[in-house]
């Protein structure tokens, strides 16, 4: 029969593990499931039955060093409790031609343009415009589950949509 002292020890251990894991998931990285089809086929391709699990890296938050083509997690500008996963298409100072119309948009200071990989079912900057970089919560670097697709998440930069003059000056 376990004594109260034993259970006190177990509780203390659980508390320690909780503290340390919360800190690690805030500062270094965490594992998150992805739901929804907006980033298909990079995450959750059509024929998969399970949700994808990805590694979200948080070191990039301290210096805000994001680059074109990164997949980021950010809190939605219209509801701070929702987290969205999208790809950065353009960074501050870029001129970007939006895909559905023939407009060119200049990205303001401190903002970025995010889009899902699956334009058919994705609510992104095409509907709510550029988002502040301060909303970013981390960068998705690796897929951890399912096993056949374990690996790095590739950067994809749609060069043809960014106007070349600004690309040269910013990069």
């Amino acid at each position: 029969m376990a004594s109260p002292k034993y259970w006190w020890g177990v509780a203390k251990k659980c508390f320690t593990v909780g503290l340390i894991s919360l800190t690690v998931s805030d500062r270094c990285g965490s594992i998150t499931p992805i739901s929804g089809q907006s980033m298909s086929p990079t995450f959750n391709p059509e024929h998969s039955t399970f949700k994808d699990y990805v590694l979200v890296e948080k070191f990039c938050l301290m210096k805000c060093n994001f680059s074109h083509g990164d997949v980021i997690v950010f809190s939605s500008p219209s509801n701070h409790k929702e987290k969205h996963v999208k790809r950065i298409i353009a960074m501050p100072g870029d001129w970007l031609s939006t895909s559905d119309s023939y407009d060119t948009v200049k990205i303001p200071q401190g903002h970025c343009w995010v889009e899902g990989d699956n334009p058919a079912s994705s609510a992104d900057s095409r509907s709510y415009g550029p988002i502040p970089l301060g909303l970013a919560q981390g960068r998705v670097t690796h897929i951890l589950w399912p096993p056949q697709r374990i690996g790095k998440v590739e950067k994809v930069v749609p060069e043809h949509r960014l106007s070349m003059t600004t690309r040269q000056t910013t990069s």
Binding site: L19, T23, F74, S76, H80, Q109, G110, G134
Partner: protein
């Protein structure tokens, strides 16, 4: 054989000691991090934009990092916000409109503008209307940029006390 056993035992105890120390240090650092991010943290704010509530030369405020996570934020609260135009800058402003509120303000052009704060956004303005870069310039900010609510001033000592909402 006896010596080697003693040596092994020593190594084991040293390893255990080192592990214990590491865990203690890690626990301390994590507790510090969690207090700082989720409960409260002291922050230095300066600049003319919140005159006369806060001084130009700098005040140390205690920031409540918990209540905005539960949506417990109202009109008139002083908040700490990440600047939308530079994610590394932190602004101190007062909330003057929640989502759905109708806000009227004087734009630079001199005309009075009226708009509705969009969903999930807040309207923030400095107390010093003449020297403040705020929602009148960059529009309503997303709620997700809010870092915390200032509730108490701890330095300078002469003006120590709670910051009420106006």
């Amino acid at each position: 054989m006896w010596a080697s056993k003693l040596c092994q035992w020593q190594w084991r105890s040293i390893a255990k000691e080192a592990l214990d120390r590491t865990i203690t240090v890690a626990k301390f650092l994590s507790l510090f991090h969690i207090t700082d991010t989720y409960i409260f943290s002291p922050t230095i704010v300066y600049g003319p934009s919140m005159l006369p509530t806060l001084n130009v030369r700098g005040d140390v405020l205690l920031i409540d990092k918990l209540s905005h996570r539960f949506g417990n934020l109202g009109l008139g609260d002083i908040v700490i916000v990440q600047s939308p135009s530079n994610p590394r800058r932190i602004l101190t402003k007062r909330v003057l409109g929640m989502e759905g509120d109708v806000v009227s303000y004087n734009a630079h052009t001199g005309f009075v503008k009226t708009l509705v704060v969009p969903k999930g956004h807040v309207w923030i303005q400095g107390d010093n209307l003449y020297a403040s870069n705020d929602s009148r310039h960059f529009g309503a900010v997303p709620y997700g940029l809010i870092q915390g609510k200032a509730f108490c001033r701890i330095w300078p000592f002469a003006e120590i006390g709670f910051l009420g909402s106006v």
